[in-house]
Amino acid sequence: MKSAVLVFPGINRERDMARALKLASGHQAAMVWHAETSLPKGTDLVVVPGGFSYGDYLRCGAIAARAPVMDAVRAFAADGGLVLGVCNGFQILCEAGLLPGVLMRNARLKFICRDVHMRVERSDTAFTRGYNAGQIIRVPVAHGEGNYEADEETLKRLEGEGRVLYRYCSPQGVVDEPANINGAAHSIAGIVNERGNVLGMMPHPENHVEDIMGCTDGRGLFAGLVAHLEHAA
């Protein structure tokens, strides 16, 4: 799996992401500067990592979404290429119009860093095939603006088309208000686009890929991507 990790000024989880990709695929990801106008040849996966691109000033992800490299990402996605946005990356993909909706301030208005549980809603996608449908995984979140919102119609479509892949839940898998750490509509933690090749999610699977971190539940996402690409090849 040849992956490209985008680097915008203010992005800060690009190293975490590159490490996870390396562990999963054995390949060093290419780090791609925001001012580039093309992606490295043969890229299989584009990752928009977490952080505070442009300080998250104005709206989170807004300025980065308009960077030159994003045109290349749009073209890559239109060609069916796989795009993964995590945290700030999710926000950037929404602002760039690659995913619907927006990420608002957490309902409790505070930045929150802790492990959360997510239910994997289906396992038949490139981004979830490393898990079983209904599996509960534990990964950390670290964000102040992860409260997913979209209009009723969009939410209906997302649900109807099975595009909500990850949902906040209790350790037992119950989707309810207390487990919905940021107040997201329908407890949404991660969604895909219509075509299924662009995923945005708030939690950080890349921080739970090593035993010594006490949990490796994030591995499935990356392992699944590797498997998906091998299968396709």
């Binding site: 807004a62 308009r66 927006v102 608002m104 301030r105 919102e149 209009d151």
Partner: protein, 80 residues
């Protein structure tokens, strides 16, 4: 030239911050607050002196960046 762009949330879009402020004002005992919605203003200095041109540039700025038109409305005023 001085100008101001005001960006507000479309009605119907949830405003967690506004809601929290509403609650906080109530608990601070500020009287009679029924609802709060938060928006942004941008005070912009422009070079040049053509008002119409300035307005067009600001609209451009708002469309391209200052507002997320999926959820926000904006208003442009050239002040002087």
């Amino acid at each position: 030239m001085k100008a101001r762009v005001t960006v507000t949330l479309k009605s119907g879009i949830l405003d967690p911050q506004g809601k929290a402020i509403e609650g906080a004002l109530k608990s601070l005992g500020v009287d009679g607050v029924a609802s709060v919605r938060q928006g942004k203003v941008f005070d912009i200095e422009l070079s040049g002196s053509d008002k119409a041109k300035a307005e067009a540039a600001l609209k451009d700025a708002a469309d391209k960046l200052l507002a997320n038109t999926v959820i926000e409305n904006y208003r442009v005023e050239v002040l002087s």
